[in-house]
Symmetry: C2
Subunit: 175 residues, 2 copies
């Protein structure tokens, strides 16, 4: 499959953005491609469309599946695996939030708690301990906020964030 210019630009930009947020470029590109395509694609098609190695696609798809962003589909009369992603940005957003929550927020909470519970914290300055505590509180709030978003249905989430964003745009008053 040959990518048309707009789709190509989208996919490349998404890959670029991915890198800036710690996501492998190819992984991000594949996801963008499946999202734009809006239909299941097999690995070979992805490979030829993006012009990367077949093995690269295989590994990247595994990565995307581990984030629940991509799932395998089987079409009747075709033994190949096909891959698809949600076409709902808000659902995708939630999946990414869920992933980062458990991969980054949770371990950080654990690490900071261990810091605070460790008796050698006594060796540190009081201010240092306080700041670690503040950091922990901050991260915990982020975690709870993530949960809150995860509990909302996509439409509700979109409306809630969208509306609150629009209000703040209109009201324009100091807090």
């Amino acid at each position: 499959m040959e990518l048309k210019p707009i789709a190509e630009r989208f996919v490349l930009h998404w890959g670029e953005m991915g890198s800036r947020w710690g996501v492998n470029r190819t992984v991000a590109q594949i996801h963008a491609l499946l999202y734009l395509a809006g239909r299941p694609m097999d690995a070979e098609e992805i490979t030829s469309t993006l012009g990367v190695a077949r093995s690269n696609v295989s590994n990247s798809l595994k990565e995307l599946q581990s984030w629940n962003l991509v799932r395998i589909i089987h079409l009747k009369g075709d033994r190949r695996d096909h891959f698809e992603t949600s076409t709902d940005v808000w659902e995708l957003f939630k999946l990414i939030v869920a992933g980062r929550r458990q991969r980054e927020i949770d371990p950080t909470v654990v690490a900071l708690r261990e810091c605070l519970d460790n008796p050698v914290i006594e060796e540190e300055h009081e201010g240092t301990r306080q700041r670690i505590e503040e950091t922990l509180k901050f991260i915990e709030i982020m975690g709870t906020l993530a949960d809150e978003m995860l509990r909302l249905k996509p439409e509700t989430l979109m409306k809630t964030l969208g509306v609150s964003a629009r209000i703040s745009q209109v009201v324009r008053r100091k807090p």
Copy 2:
């Protein structure tokens, strides 16, 4: 300066988290160090504490300054530059949000608008165009949301997010 065990763990963990979010490890470590120290440090001290090259520290500090996360301070009777960061997690959060907003969100909005305005969008499937539009709306909401947070004073922001997080934790009702 020799790092005490808890501070070391914190700094290393922060460096690790940085990498996962697209921030250079040393950059993140230096920031964590200044944050925990809660006092201005000169480049030489940072260098010896973290055990990295002086030039690495110099460049990383430049990076941190470009994000407004670190500022130069001069102490009387000392010709060396000293560096400090805010000890307020919420203020730091806002600075990071502001930076990512203008470095990632804004350019993405531009790119997606260009995609949609480009006449060759006609070559794409209608669904593809729609999804690019959805994505643009999503990113714009994220941008507005970022602005909203930036307009709040740290205490207000903390209370708003903190309280809303806590409520959602307690109420536990479906949306």
